[in-house]
């Protein structure tokens, strides 16, 4: 019999298996679970966008697009970045349409990271930066953000981890799982260090449209950072289009060019139907986005309030659609809390440790659910906390 383990590349073998997978499988197999576990909107894609996708199929637009994406879509993305953030990109050279934001992350890391390069990753964060770095042969270096800093990346913490091998800094804000956002002042302080140490930045702004205290500030809009930043964004969160798998990267032309090279060989082009739908999203759906943001904002307050009423410390998230309450008062670890909560109360949340070691003592709860669902879940979690709090 073939020994498949010998076939597996050492690079891939070295990737830590996802321990959380087992917990997910249990949650998925249980009946009547109330979930606060998802990382995607509960809204269905606005009808105008779906309709545009359907129309493109009717018209027979079922072919490949240009590798970088439909030029109309790239143009719309540039218009959007211009009108919202006053950022100017050349649709022909500085924008690449990808299969979700995650492909763009992988592409940038692969394009610039090789053996020996260090990538700075503030945790807790979305799970892909570390494995992508490892697969590219680089060395991930994590920075542990803290509740006392509102889970922001501070200049001090950044400086501590910079070496002469540091090449790339990942800025995952608004943050999944904490909901933290960086203010202009925070970003300016980071920008100064980036400049001094000649770093490049991957700014993952997939939750940029979902901020609840003033406008989102793209890192590329900070003085001197336009040249040093590839911004990753996409349609999944803002336009409730997760299943369409569509994202984009924009940044300096020479970097986008190399990313496009990998994309061309690995993917060819992003799904054409999704691209046509996305054109409609960029052109006419500001009101839909605003509506969803307002809804999330209401739920966000209900959830933060709910956890605080349970007696848990809960930092106020100002972005994305997650709250990250501190559950250490129960004396349970994140894993224990999530597992017991699932078995005892049939509520699914994600242990903070799924997003890095420093997520210990926290759980991620998504408010991409109806208020009714959130209230039911909070009630059960409240009972659970009552029973376990020390």
């Amino acid at each position: 019999m073939t020994d498949y383990s010998k076939l597996i590349s050492p690079h891939i073998n070295a990737l830590a298996p996802s321990g959380i997978r087992k917990f997910f499988d249990i949650a998925a197999s249980m009946q009547d679970v109330i979930s606060l576990g998802v990382g995607e909107p509960d809204f269905v894609t606005p009808w105008a966008i779906r309709e545009a996708g359907i129309y493109s199929l009717e018209k027979g637009h079922t072919h490949y697009s240009a590798n970088s994406g439909l030029i109309e879509l790239r143009q719309e993305i540039c218009n959007y970045l211009g009108r919202k953030y006053n950022l100017s990109y050349d649709p022909k050279a500085q924008v690449l349409v990808t299969v979700g934001g995650s492909e763009a992350i992988d592409l940038l890391i692969r394009a610039i990271i090789s053996s020996g390069d260090e990538v700075l990753i503030p945790e807790p964060c979305f799970v892909c930066y570390k494995p992508c770095t490892l697969m590219a042969g680089g060395t991930p270096v994590t920075i542990q953000t803290e509740e006392k800093d509102n889970f922001r990346l501070t200049p001090e913490k950044l400086l501590e981890k910079i070496t002469d091998k540091t090449k790339l800094l990942v800025l995952p804000f608004p943050n999944n799982p904490t909901g933290a956002v960086m203010t202009r002042k925070d970003l300016e302080a980071i920008a100064k260090i980036v400049e001094e140490h000649d770093l490049f930045v991957l700014s993952d702004e997939i939750y940029g449209e979902l901020t609840y205290s003033g406008e989102h500030i793209p890192f590329a809009s900070i003085e001197g950072m336009y040249e040093r930043t590839v911004t990753v964004n996409g349609f999944s969160k803002a336009f409730a289009m997760t299943g369409w798998r569509l994202g984009y990267a924009c940044g300096p032309a020479p970097i986008i060019k190399e990313m496009t090279k990998i994309h061309q060989y690995a993917i060819m082009c992003a799904p054409t139907t999704s691209q046509y739908a996305a054109i409609e999203a960029m052109r006419s759906c500001d009101d839909d986005v605003e509506y969803m943001r307002t809804e999330y904002d209401h739920r966000r307050r209900v959830m933060v309030n709910g956890f605080r009423e349970m007696g848990l410390s809960c930092f106020e998230p100002l972005g994305a659609f997650y709250v990250f309450p501190n559950i250490s008062a129960t004396g349970l670890s994140s894993d224990e809390f999530a597992t017991k909560l699932l078995y005892e109360k049939k509520v699914a949340v994600v242990p903070g440790t799924a997003f890095g070691e420093c997520g210990e003592g926290f759980i991620r709860c998504s408010y991409a659910y109806s208020i009714k669902n959130i209230e039911k879940a909070l009630e059960r979690i409240g009972e659970f906390v009552q029973e376990h709090i020390k």
Binding site: A28, D42, F126, R301
Partner: protein, 160 residues
């Protein structure tokens, strides 16, 4: 702030002042006072349930009636509208632009009952020039709520 409160209550009239306050990040007393004012100013006129009667045993027929009118000296259409909306069978009366003047919604137990109401009460009115009655057969969506299907969450239980 009042606009925001109205949007919330329009979606769910059963929200308490305390819940409204939490959702908008304001003081509970302020929310309660604003709601009271909105009621006093007749901006909030009532709190009702949205019911799909088609799923119940109740016999009911709804018709939308287009009325063409001659306006009354002095009162314009308002006087006629008032004479019409005072009937308890009439659920709504709206002044329209275009081919007719008033759109009147009438509810009754049967087709016949509604038809009789139109021919005996509405049509003979002095200022009514003509009527056209349209019976509702099936409601797909009303007040922003879809009647024909229940929304289902088909997402994975957990995703990162």
């Amino acid at each position: 702030m009042k606009q925001k409160i109205l949007s919330l209550l329009e979606q769910d009239s059963r929200l308490t002042a305390s819940k409204v306050a939490i959702m908008l990040g304001i003081d509970e007393a302020a929310a309660a006072a604003a709601i009271k004012e909105l009621e006093d100013e007749n901006i909030i006129l009532g709190y009702k349930a949205l019911i799909n009667w088609e799923l119940t045993d109740r016999e009911m027929t709804v018709a939308n009636i287009e009325l063409k009118l001659t306006p009354q000296r002095g009162g314009g259409f308002d006087t006629v509208a008032e004479r019409i909306y005072k009937f308890p069978q009439v659920k709504s009366v709206t002044l329209m632009s275009g081919a007719y003047d008033l759109l009147v919604t009438v509810e009754g137990k049967s087709l016949k009952e509604v038809a009789m109401f139109v021919s005996e009460r509405l049509a003979p009115m002095e200022s009514v020039v003509s009527t056209a009655t349209h019976f509702e057969l099936k409601t797909y969506k009303k007040d922003g709520i879809i009647f024909t299907e229940k929304e289902k969450d088909n997402r994975e239980v957990i995703s990162i």
